[in-house]
Amino acid sequence: MSFADVRVRLAIIAGVMALCFYLLYPLRETINLGLDLKGGIHMLMRVKTNDAVKAELDLSAERIRAALGEKGLAPSRIDLDGRALVFAGLDEAKTDDAHTLLRDQFPQFAVESSGTGALRLTLRPPDESGIRDAAVRQALETIRTRIDKFGVAEPTIQRKGVGPDADQIVVQLPGVEDPERVKDLIGSPAFLEWKLVKIPPGVTTEQFRPPDNPQALDAAFGGALPADAEALPQEVQGDDGRRFTLYWPVTRSSPITGNDLKNARRDQDRFGGAAVNFLLTADAGQRFQELTRLNQGQLLAIVLDRKIISAPRINAVIAERGIIEGGNFTVESAEDLALKLRSGALPAGLDILEERTVGASLGADSIRHGITASIIGSVVVVLFMLIYYRGAGINTTVVLAINILILLGAMASLHSTLTLPGIAGIALTVGMAVDANVLVFERIREELRHGRTVKAAISSGFEKALTTIIDSNLTTLIAALALLGFGTGPVKGFAVTLSIGIVANLFTAVFMSRTLFDVLLNLRPRLEKLSI
């Protein structure tokens, strides 16, 4: 082995080390810590796309009824049967006309006749998955907007899987520790509606007090609510701190909804309490003006996600600007509501499938424990190698240190995440990396026992151990890669450090360790006794 050759190899090693130092500087920013180490919230949610399909069917039912009505083909009943719309009571003679009209104007439905004077409409599969896909995308956008405004550094908000049927969303919020608020913030649909209150007959608006059960409300209307009204709950807290629910009779239709909002901000009401002010679009502002002008003195309920916030009296004509108050808001809840209104309503509800919250203090504990254990393990391993192999143990120590350097440098360049099991993976790598050295050193000892010269023993030791080192590392890598493919979150971090550690080990234990021996041989060509 010529000295020139050794110099080239030393230069390669120096280059690799310099690259790793460069990649790792500054350490705090280059090594990406997992949520289990730095604290934060991980949530896996499913968008209830069935909700979106049902909403679409409801909307279509109304449009189809109108279209049929224009041609004098109006059905007497429309029923929702699972994911199909059933139009019943059509004029038997004109069923074919209706069929043709539906086929031409509503191509997203497959139409089939279902008994006399009845048609059954089902969404075509591509259109249905289109609706689901759109719902997930819109939910993703809405959640993203809400999180962005929540002010979290580097959140992850991703759709899990590919294709229109992937209905899961992953949200990761580093550094956030109050899951309750986050769940409220991203989980609630935030669908806002304004509805007029229907005062029961025989009572004035001033006299009307909503009852605390729906039966009493039905009774006030003489047995049942009118067809165009519904009962919605309001949760109130009495002066004594007791909570109870009131039921308000309101119109089914909502003249103004959250879709008409242009902006919403936290504000203060007349008494200095928290409230939310809003700005409507120009078009909705005109409708609002009309509504408030025609219904002076009546009550207008503000409904959020089917629950009444408050039902103030219309005392003035209101156009684009207004305020939502009387909802027992705190500064935070008013801020959150304004934020949710600005980001728009979720198209469908969310199911939380998995949630992991790690407090930053717990994460800090984990880092402390993981690093302490790794350092203790490494020190004992290195001490052992130094005692057992003496001079050659120094070789191991250097190679091991460079191995960890390369491992961290590779993690930085791959932007992979270091987790608690990942730290365990590094500790394990230290233990296993020594294996390659042991294999070589034992072989060198054997060769020396057989009377070979130091130079020949080193050369043949490395040669004979090489296939074994490659074989053994490759099989461990197979297991690590299987884990990498399946693993999620922290466990994936383990697979990452283990895999990179194994690959780095092949480089350090074979190439670097050999180079260090060659340097020794070049410095002392007449070396007769190797310290091993």
Binding site: T357, H369, I376, P421, V438, T468, S472, L483, F494
Partner: protein, 398 residues
Amino acid sequence: MLQVFHNANFKFMWASKWYFLALSGVALLAAFGIIIIKGFNYGIDFAGGTAVQVRFSQPPRLDALRVVLEGAGLGDVTLQSIGEAADNEVLIRVERTGMSEGAGGEGGDVSQKVLGALRGMQDGEAGVRDRLDLNTVSEPALREFLAGHLPASPDLAPPDAGTADPGLAAESIIRARNDRNGLFTDIGQVAGIPGVTGPVAAILRERATLGGFSLRGIDFVGPTAGKELMRNTGWAILGSVLGILVYVWFRFHRIAWGLASIIALVHDVTIAAGAMALTGKEFSLPIVAALLTILGYSINDTIVLFDRIRENLRLYRDVDFEKVVNASVNQTLSRTILTSFTVFVAVFALFLYGGDKLNPMSFCLLVGLVSGTYSTIYIAAALLVVTHQVLGPRYAKA
């Protein structure tokens, strides 16, 4: 020169291989039996449900806690003290409740109920309700709270009172809280933090409180996610076993060699899993990682030996097969013991000092390491010799 063995020449094969094969068989059956009869202590990852970890400022009374939690309609609640007694730390585990899918989440609100109940316990103290709890608030929420309550225009404040930057104050308060293991015990501690200026401290004194607990972590896994994790685990183990089988077969050209090493692998993984069932340590996702690592480590050890056997079979063509195998075991013995020792040391450090979270994983690894070292000699090598004796050299020679 330090040496573990000086020209080791132990008789691993011949009669003793039968004793140890029998012993391995018994151990394997026992491990299977324990797994089937006793079962695993599945963690949240696989069992599903909710686990909430909290640290209290005062030593918690578990019985009182249980009454409160069960009163909140949480059903069966398991309470477990973790860490050292002085940590006042409790893991609250709620099994999956009867909540149906689609009805307002699979149960993501269980953790909310737990926190609500814990908060309810301290609401009895006067004036605590409606105040900001500095022990559970997160940084963005605290920043917003301060921004909402600080005087709107900073130029009204006297210049030397220090500018009250809500972002900076929130950051230093949360950092200080983490340094105190997540709990402030006295509001004076907050006022003393560098970065907390007079106005901030005044607002906190007036409108904030210190709750009796801090949230350390929440794990919730719904039935859907749990099933998926289970399925993935199965695939990962199956995939790596097949991958290893194919690799060994390809490398040594004889399926007998591949099968011998796979049987050793199955033994090691089963023994490690059996030890988990026996000790009742929590079986969660990192255990899967540990089992796969055992697979990798055990095959690594086996391959080192098989490589040497193959080399020796070529060198000594006329020597008896069993003698060659035994000699190979002896030649690699030093290396086997040394490597196992260093890996063992590294993992043992994790076991002792790695904390609660790494403890079950490192325990599983330790058992697997010992078993992996043993099985290389007494299962993989022994089975090669048995194959050679029973089926003839055609199947065993490489």
